[in-house]
Subunit: 158 residues, 4 copies
Amino acid sequence: MEELVYSAPEPVLKEVVYERKANYYETDQMSIIHHSNYIRWFEEARLYFMDEAGLPYKQMEDDGILIPVLSVSAEYKVSVKYDQKVLIYVWLSKFNGIRMQCGYRVVDKETGTLCATGESQHCFVDRNFKPVSLKKSYPGYYERIKAVTGERSGFDGK
Amino acid sequence: MEELVYSAPEPVLKEVVYERKANYYETDQMSIIHHSNYIRWFEEARLYFMDEAGLPYKQMEDDGILIPVLSVSAEYKVSVKYDQKVLIYVWLSKFNGIRMQCGYRVVDKETGTLCATGESQHCFVDRNFKPVSLKKSYPGYYERIKAVTGERSGFDGK
Amino acid sequence: MEELVYSAPEPVLKEVVYERKANYYETDQMSIIHHSNYIRWFEEARLYFMDEAGLPYKQMEDDGILIPVLSVSAEYKVSVKYDQKVLIYVWLSKFNGIRMQCGYRVVDKETGTLCATGESQHCFVDRNFKPVSLKKSYPGYYERIKAVTGERSGFDGK
Amino acid sequence: MEELVYSAPEPVLKEVVYERKANYYETDQMSIIHHSNYIRWFEEARLYFMDEAGLPYKQMEDDGILIPVLSVSAEYKVSVKYDQKVLIYVWLSKFNGIRMQCGYRVVDKETGTLCATGESQHCFVDRNFKPVSLKKSYPGYYERIKAVTGERSGFDGK
């Protein structure tokens, strides 16, 4: 692992910031962004994170790895409105080769106000939705994901 | 054709009515259903039509036929609001074995007010998006679609 | 409370079942329903529950009460696919006049397979997003919601 | 008019290019971007155009002008896929103070391939959806929109 960290072509990422503007069609009649859209924003941020971390999801799918969502949660603190610019902080909080977990914070770009937080868990499967061991079948991806997980590297406190 | 009409297992359909309630998450901050959702409603109505007409799209995809959209249009007359019940009238307006065209009318269920009209054109392709001649490769589907097209059976006035 | 229970025009509801068919436009390129749509299905089911429970949300909004989402979570067990019919069981799991919590289970209609579970928390605000005490300002709604919460009536185990 | 053109603080815009990446949640099980999303992309591009043209729609709504959609159409030429970068060319094709019309072209950023074209018509209303004459009630916005319409300034060939 440590060797890999030092030989990584890009610096190891712990957290990535994804910028996003709230679209009109994402509002609802409360004049705020509908809460379901944050789940989509989390996905945008997560896939951006993976691109930035040298783990482009498009390539992974082409290689036969799908990463479906096992669970997702969001807490809404302050409503985001149409035309508002937000920064979405995203990081890989857990990874054990079988599952991974991502964390999210949505922050107003101008004021820094925390608008929402979230979390998602994922597994790795092949095109037939059979579980895949990254360590065994895709060691390159395995090491790369381990590298970007930072110190937060295990489920169950491991 | 005529023989087929008389031997059709179900009565020939010319127009089908699909009922739908407007969802909260489909509203926008104008407090009306966002216009993009009508395009989705048209799809719901079209696939319902196909089910009713003995042309279940799920089965067609399983058989290797995809029916992508070539064009779509909508005219918005009266806004639909959250919780409103609408009837979507849908019919197959043109079909020539290579392409088909559907028509739509969205009507308030209670008052009968015409809320929107629409049209969509489609072609038939295989899983690699190569055009498929239904007449040659899937004569059963071809005859079935011809049967539900009614008198409105051709492109270019044919 | 008890008086109200016995005078309720409809029988007290503990759980409502909402039926739903998965739409084509809700799929993603994994050929499953995109996970964000379950959050929307929860909303559909919740608003259906409220209608059935004599708490029509449209009326509540017209009366000046908005019920935004404080948090939402979903666990995905078995993927739902296009054209699949699901039953969404929805119930009010907590309510204290300031907040309420709903629970959800998404079940395949044909087989009974549990596909997903979920939870959402909500508060009550006026049109300016100022918190509203239902008990004080809208006692009718307060009693009605208490009635449908069943034995699961409090936050913090109360 | 001409005076205004020359005194405009920014150069007069005829066409604006809006860049967009196709999101995973916008795909469907044909592994292409679902056609309904292009209608949303048109809106994103249109509102970007208005911002760039000194007609920020957020400000207009705050000033009491809503611009609902009267009609929309799209022609799909080549499917857009997940992760693909597109350029959306958008321009104001018609404007007469009562209505306006926008045109759209969606082009693959890398290859320049034309993926889709579209058009939308709009009117101007107040918060109660009563028609508004921009010329009379909001002459500043009227002149500004006229300026960006270029030579394509009228309905009915005017």
